[in-house]
Symmetry: C2
Subunit: 385 residues, 2 copies
Amino acid sequence: MTDDEISNNDTEIEGSDVGLVSFQDHSFSEPFAFDLGGSIPSFNVRYETYGELNQDKSNAILVCHALTGDHHVAGRYSEEDRKPGWWNLLVGPGRPLDTNKYFVIGTNCLGGCQGTTGPGSINPATGAPYYLDFPQLTLRDMVRAQYRLVSALGIKKLHAVIGGSMGGMQALLWGIEYPDAVNRIVALACSARQNAQAIAFNEVGRSAILQDPGWENGRYQKGQGPQVGLAVARMMAHITYLSDQSLERKFGRERRNQDANITHDPFGVEFEVESYLRYQGKTFINRFDANSYLYITKANDRFDLSEGRSLEEAFAPMKASALIVGFSSDWLYSPRQNREIALAMLRAGKSASYAEIEMDAGHDSFLLPSTALYRAIRVFMNARN
Amino acid sequence: MTDDEISNNDTEIEGSDVGLVSFQDHSFSEPFAFDLGGSIPSFNVRYETYGELNQDKSNAILVCHALTGDHHVAGRYSEEDRKPGWWNLLVGPGRPLDTNKYFVIGTNCLGGCQGTTGPGSINPATGAPYYLDFPQLTLRDMVRAQYRLVSALGIKKLHAVIGGSMGGMQALLWGIEYPDAVNRIVALACSARQNAQAIAFNEVGRSAILQDPGWENGRYQKGQGPQVGLAVARMMAHITYLSDQSLERKFGRERRNQDANITHDPFGVEFEVESYLRYQGKTFINRFDANSYLYITKANDRFDLSEGRSLEEAFAPMKASALIVGFSSDWLYSPRQNREIALAMLRAGKSASYAEIEMDAGHDSFLLPSTALYRAIRVFMNARN
């Protein structure tokens, strides 16, 4: 095991953007059966690709997103589009996921709300949204839907699966569930099992949503619903993605409003960090569906590779080589939790490396550019297996 | 500075309970002016005392409670009372705050909801509750109200002021604001300034309350109000009082309900930790007032001893000797933040000690018995000044 502890320098960004992109939809007309029971008669997977699939279809890299992420990993939708995909600096010609060499696939997860079928999608049996009739969800279900897409694209074996947070957990599952379909896995800022503290935070968010009168037992109209509860859930979750150091550095005790406002609006925004959090909550409700949030957080909470077995046993089927990455300031999925994954793989006789990246941005560090991280990913992707 | 790092053994509890107690009320018919403007024409302070005040009134120790604590520090209200005061093992004959020697005073803070005047108290000018007409609050206001009580009891100089969390911040303020009125201060698990992360968590809680339709701009009826928002705020805050280790040890991934329930109540309680948190939220709304929660969290967020000066300058007036205690697993007010207080005092030429106690219970460690902690407090209280 390479226990790299590399300090985070100013990041050198190599390579260039993938340019303009668009998403695609793949409709599956065969049913999908869920881990915990229930099925849907058909489903859609939304995805994007960057680079070209080579002739023997051996150069595909699947990118798995985090809790509220999506398939839009890189590039822009138009010349005017100011916000590129969420891992834009990682993917492109000359970048660590080099689109001159690799065919990179981003997909939206099953149960989500950004194109792939989820609780807000139309149930063909009723013509109305599934709402809570959508079957209960696990991360294995999400990975199985990804496998269906990858198979549909004619790819028998992925060059790699890479993801952070929930996406990292999915990468681990790929290694275990489809050992012959993946050569390399990269799991960043994740855990082999959702711990009690992570479940607890998710439960607070769900409580805020479930008790919002706008939730209406999940049967709210599009554009309506438990907006207050969802915003509160997001505000809280957002704190767990950062660190006390990064919050202190970015906001400290900077005041947004002068003391004069205290008498007129005593519980309004007083500090910059309050304004920032409220903004996070407000923008989230415009882009995310509350039911999807409930389903996906539950899927995360149910994730435990060591259920009924040791972690070492869990990794026994894996054939891929693995790079596991922890971030020093991540207190949601701490370095210790990430190191534990690599250690269990090594005990199981697998090829695994662990890198610990020094960054102060907390859990969200994995989304930020880092010379050390990008070098580690580039080297791992290009190494012979 | 004594930088004690003592491991936490099985706690030996010395001494005995104070027995049956009752609270008292002291009504002040003179007005109280608030730091940020506004005043109230009269106010009440609820308090309890244990032990006897000696003839020269030199043996009094003031105990300051945390955010949602109260004046009921020790003892029981009746023989049937199963729940003693919140620091019961610290206070009593032969205990670290030894009531054979000391006269111990617990008070409920200004702005609270457990007997001392707060936003839910009747405004004599209108005959109705103050609601949001209650002036905005600071920790200095709370300490000034405590000082009024102590003076009314004829005490010119306290043997000590002790408190944890918000109570620790109040102990620091006593040292600075009333240098001639206190001989010793003990501040546990606190900070010299509320940092951005702590403000952020409080802001999420306040958002949940303020956006609950039951809040009604603060003018809700007693026993009603923003119960959902308050419960969500408490659930979230409660996680910040614990640690991932203690949650893992207590609950781990223990399931409350069998998987069978998932189909009937998919977002109901599945894990023990969820059940525990929901219980914390539910019991809190029966004992705490939402407006008081808003006022007191805001008072905490406004706390910054270093505002407009260095921390060293802030402690310049202090004459008391100080014991500052951090807890290894406290991530709300981390050991680093507590150590910073003691260091600044030492730089200011004061008598200060710092003890770091190894406990895995997070911020709430200060409420739990610990041989190392209790020994440190006992020695400090009995040492010559």
